[in-house]
Symmetry: none
Subunit: 418 residues, 2 copies
């Protein structure tokens, strides 16, 4: 069975200064294309060691997919090392050079001599375009026909190159293979152990499709993976299992695959012709940032006030100075007035407000670090305040609070009791 | 020079379903202990392939540190594979068995027959205690004296085993070794190739301390790593090189190590007793989120208005309806009025505003996707507007615009012409 190996290049990977997310991304795209990954390696910016790693991987597999070390600096040695491993020279690829010149012109930056070496690719290579950056990729070939596909290490350059050029090359090279289709069910507001409790019996009973539970960013996803000759057949295998999982987790599944909590909320708000505003204190703009990540968000998201200073809570949101003085900024009444003010002043139908103690300083016995209040105001008696004690450091508290705010908004828009 | 390799075991790593955070954790602990990591591998739950990976790493380095595959299931094959690679048998380690029984008793769970095999370690091994789980680790030895240290894959079991048992073993094994100290110089507003151009000659001339250039999040960092018997000696080696690099990149280095662009800006603003406000359209809250990530940001950051809807630009920032109608939201005048309004209404001394076309829709020939305007207002004739054409998808444009805004704010606070 044909297989490839992945080799990631960069000394920072060996010092543990960077978590390698490129390798899992490449691995998962290859799995989707039905291409087996035999093993992976990472190696530092050292010509001999890179070449040795390439030789090791080529001895074990039919080809190697590499990322990193294609830049213009003296530390970027992948091109040279691949030439060493394959025992070929380099050649200037004019089209690659022209494309680099075009990218530099578009960025309005001068192209230097050290950039030119990026267009010198192993002789006999298939060049890979990199419209998002200056380092072209390439697929180089050994005399026995095995290949080494090299991509930049910058994720936003590597990912489209992999999907648009390397995966099609591999598919053709290995012939039509099995496809792995993955469906991700995104949940919010359900704990990992709660989900596990509700669907544990399904984990063991299925090998294909296979189920996995992934917790991340203070939420959990359920992943269903099916392997079949075609995507349609894999979809058909996924459907009944998906239906069963959704039935059991109905109160928590907000979307699938590319959906985000924000896109789910804005879709509901748009269909209800509601306009949403946000007043953020301790979340500091994170809820607005999540909502505006969604293309077309302006249709139902009007804006936010990040009211960090109390004076801003008063001037921009109309919070009463007396309320602030009597109860403090982290109080039910202030949260309520922030939400009411945001709704009225930003011209929205619904507004959510956050106020809390993100830390590390500013906590008291009564209002400890991690205390976060949320208020929702839609001008009716449904308006409410919640308070939670969140765990973690400043960043974790801000992020958890953002996910909680999105959870409350989603449940509100669904008409579910949050 | 003695070095080790890291081998992580688990098929999920090859399917990209899990980002391997164990390898960078191990790598960074070893770097701190002055132990060189030559390369890393990951391999699936396959006895032959694990054994082959161990042999490959042992051929290249003095030892191997492994994680994963020590559990009780049929998929856990690290013990057997290490025996194959080292050509040794297994032996029941009574103390390991007793400890496992104690852990099971403490967890109140029955110990099954398949758990028993976890106490069968390669003959001649040094067992490693695992008080937090059921799988003991071990260090096995080859006939030539090289070693393979195996730890479980569960991070909360692996981490203390590494710190408390494996690192001390390695330190002793390799004798008193050196420490690696890393200094990171963070830059903003300088391109990677510009930095390379200015310091390229330093890359080649230094092996220790060593320099690396890392581009990420639309910025670049220069990393200086020094290896020495003590941290003080490493610091002393770093100092002159750091001074030289800072001299050459003076217009771009905003901070060191844990500093962020936001913390650098807020430090300057605080020392100048200035108060900052932000008005965000296309960046949607990201600038505020970056600023409020900094503990104590409330001292110099008053807040932001995320003015996504034009009505919010008018009501919250006092942008003139006529200006909006005549020039459109993405225009110099609107940017200028947003900044002026934010400064005045939020009670700040300085305000920065963003407005642009983040896409994917909404672009025109005159105002294409990626056009972003920035205005800075401090109530003096220093107030200015800049416009840039940014590359990438919606997310990249929003993130690049955020970094540019931070760059402009930092240069302003430094008194540098942006």
């Amino acid at each position: 069975m044909p297989s490839v190996e992945i080799v990631a290049v960069g000394t920072e990977l060996l010092l543990g200064q960077l978590v390698d997310t490129n390798t899992p991304f490449i691995a998962s795209e290859l799995a989707r294309a039905g291409i087996d990954v035999r093993a992976t390696q990472s190696v530092g910016d050292n010509r001999e060691r890179i070449a040795a790693a390439v030789r090791t991987s080529l001895a074990r597999a039919q080809g190697v997919v590499m990322t990193g070390g294609l830049g213009p600096t003296i530390d970027d040695l992948t091109r040279e090392a691949v030439c060493d491993a394959l025992d070929v020279g380099t050649k200037l690829y004019e089209p690659a050079l022209l494309q680099m010149e075009a990218v530099f012109a578009r960025f309005g930056r001068p192209m230097r001599a050290n950039n030119r070496k990026q267009a010198e690719l192993p002789t006999g290579s298939l060049p890979l375009d990199n419209p998002r950056g200056t380092a072209p990729g390439f697929v180089a070939f050994a005399s026995d026909g095995k290949f080494v596909a090299c991509m930049p290490g910058v994720p936003r350059e590597m990912k489209p190159m992999l999907r648009e050029q390397v995966v099609p090359f591999l598919r053709e090279r290995f012939g039509a293979r099995e496809t792995i289709v993955t469906r991700v069910l995104h949940t919010i507001g359900l704990g990992e152990s709660e989900i596990d409790h509700r669907i544990a019996d399904l984990f063991g009973s299925y090998e294909n499709p296979k189920i996995a539970l992934l917790a991340h960013d203070f939420r959990a996803d359920v992943k269903i993976m099916a392997k079949a000759p075609t995507a349609d057949e894999a979809d058909a295998m996924i459907a009944p299992l998906q239906a069963e999982i959704v039935r059991r987790l109905e109160d928590g599944v907000f979307g699938y695959d590319a959906d985000t909590p924000a896109s789910a909320i804005l879709n509901l708000m748009r269909s209800q012709q509601r306009r949403l505003a946000v007043a953020e204190s301790c979340t500091g703009g994170r809820i607005a940032a999540a909502l505006t990540s969604v293309a077309g968000s302006s249709q139902s998201f009007v804006g936010a006030v990040v009211a960090y200073d109390n004076a801003v809570k008063i001037s921009q949101l109309g919070v009463d100075a007396g309320t602030l003085q009597r109860n403090g900024a982290v109080s039910d009444d202030v949260a309520r007035e922030m939400a009411r003010g945001a709704r009225a002043r930003l011209g929205a139908n619904v507004a959510l407000a956050t106020t809390g103690v993100a830390g590390p300083d500013g906590g008291t016995a009564e209002k400890p670090v991690g205390l976060v209040l949320f208020a929702l105001d839609d001008g009716t008696e449904n308006s409410r305040v919640w308070n939670f004690r969140l765990e973690g450091d400043r960043e974790a508290i801000q992020q958890r609070a953002t996910v909680m705010a999105l959870n409350l908004l989603w449940r509100y828009a669904k008409g579910q009791e949050p």
